[in-house]
C-alpha cells in the first residue's frame, strides 16, 4: 500500500507532533491492514453510488435563524464579520 504519513497529513491539513508520531503510525497501519483485505474483492464492473433513501420535501419558503446566536459563538468577530486568516 502506497501512502506516506507526511503526504496524508499535509493533504488533510494536519500536523503530527513528534510525541504522536509512533501512536498514529500504529493506528494508520492497523487500518491499512484492514484496507488491504479489500484487494481480494472483485471490484464492481462500473462505479456506482450507494445513496440514502428518502425524498426531498423542503419548499422554497424562508425562515430565518437568529443569526446573532451564531455570531456569538464565532471566535473572532469584527463588525459582524467572522475574522479569519490571511489568504495570501
Amino acid at each position: 500500500m502506497k501512502y506516506s504519513i507526511n503526504k496524508l497529513s499535509r493533504l488533510s491539513m494536519l500536523k503530527i507532533r513528534k510525541d504522536e508520531e509512533k501512536m498514529i503510525s500504529k493506528k494508520v497501519s492497523a487500518i491499512g491492514e484492514l484496507l488491504e483485505k479489500l484487494d481480494s474483492i472483485e471490484p464492481p464492473k462500473e462505479a456506482f453510488v450507494l445513496a440514502p433513501e428518502g425524498t426531498h420535501e423542503r419548499d422554497d419558503i424562508p425562515s430565518n435563524f437568529n443569526s446573532d446566536e451564531i455570531i456569538k459563538i464565532f471566535n473572532n468577530v469584527k463588525d459582524r464579520y467572522a475574522k479569519g486568516p490571511k489568504t495570501l
Partner: protein
Amino acid sequence: MNLEGYSLLSILKEIERGSINAEDVNDFYYKKSLQLNDKINAYITLLKPDDKKINGNLKGIALAIKDNISTKGIKTTCASKMLESYVPPYDATAVSKLKEQGGRILGKTNMDEFAMGSSGENSAFGPTRNPLNNDYVTGGSSSGSAAAVAANMAPISLGSDTGGSVRAPASFTGIVGFKPSYGAVSRYGLIAYANSLEVIGILGKYTKDVKFLFKLIAGKDPLDSTSLNVELNEKEQFKPKILVIKSFVELSKDEVKKEFYRSISKIDEEGFEVKFIDSFSLTEYLLSAYYTIACAEASTNLSRYDGIRYGPKVESTGNWRDYITKARSFFGPEVKARIMMGTFILSAGYYETYYLRALQLRKLIRQEFEKIVRGYDALYIPTMPVLPWRIGEAIEDPKMAYASDVLTVLPNLTGSPALSLPVGRIREFFVGGQLIGLRGDDIKVLKIAEMMEEILKVKNDGRN
C-alpha cells in the same frame, strides 16, 4: 430516597402516584453523579437540574446526553480539545423532542473523541472507568452514557452508534443498549462521524425504558432527509423465531461463548424457536468495509474544524494554511489517524481500489443479510467477542481495539435495528447478547429483548 435499580417507567409511575416528585429524582441522580464522577468520569459536563415543574411524558426528569449531540446553550465537546469550549446555538432534533415531552438534561457524557473508538479511552478528558471494575474500560464510544446508567448516575441516556458505540459499552457495563434502524431517529444535531452508518441510540437499565424513550424520539424529521417513520405499534405476543450464525459466535472468547450458548438453551426451553446456520460468507470483510466507509466519511465531515468560526482560537501570523493546520492540531491521535486514512481512501486512484470496493461489499452484505434473516424475527449473536480489557491495553495494540468491533458493525452496514442486553455473567462482568432485526423492525427487536430479559433474569439486583 434510593432509586438504585429503579426503572425509568417505575419512577414515572411513582411520580404520577405522587409518592415522589421529579425534583427528588433529579436530586438523587445529580448527587450520585457528583459523588461518583471523579472516579467514573462519565460526565464531561454535569448540570444541576433546576426545580421548575415540567409536564409531559417525562415529567421533568433529567437524562444524560452523549457529548456529540448538540444541546443549545450547553457545551458540546465531542470529548475533543477541538470543541472544548463550543456551545451550540441549537438543539439536536432528538433533544428538542425530549424537551418538548418534559425531559431535562442532567449532563453531557464522556465518549471516545468524535465517537471514534470502542473502549472509551480516546477522550481528551480522560477515559471513562467501568463501574463494574474501575480499572477496566467501559467500552465505547458512548462510554459515559453507559457508565452513567450502570452506576445510577442517570436514569437513562442517549448515545450514538456508528459501528457499535451504543451496544459495546452497554455490553461491557451490563445494561441495555439500543441502536435503532438507520434513519428511525433524526441525526440532525448529532455531530457527524460517519453519516451513512450512524444513528442516535438509547442506553438504559431495562428494555422497557429504552422502548419508551425510543418512541419519544423516533420519527421523520424535515431537517434530516434520510430520516423515516418506522412502525411504532406493538403486535400482540408472538413466539420469536431466532437465527444464530455459528461463525459469529465462534469469533468470541471461550468464556463469552459458553455464557452465550447457555442463554440460547434457556430461551429455547422457554419456547423461542432457535435455528442455527454455520456462517455468513462475508464475515472476514465486515471490518474492512466498515473502516473504509467510516474513515472516508469522517475525513470530509471533520474538514470543517478549521478554527475560523469556532473551535480553538489560533494565533498565526502566517497564511490560512498555517492557521488551519494549527487549529487542526487539536485533534487527538485516533481522530488524526482516521482522517488521514479517509483522505487516502478518497485520493485519486485509491477511490476505486478501496472506497468503491467497500461500497460493493456493503451492497453484498446487505443482500446476504436480508436473504438469511428474512423469515426470522431476529439474528442473535454475542455483542462483544471479549470481556472488558484493562484501561491502557488497547492503546498499545490498536489492532485489538478495531477487531473488537467485528460483531457490532454488521447492523450499521445494513441499517438494521440492533440491541445488546446482558445475557450472562462472568466474575464482575456481564456478557452481552445482540439481537439484530430487519430495517424497520425496531419494535419487534425491542419486544424480543423484553421477553429474553424476563426469561434470563441476569440482573437480579433490584426492583423493576
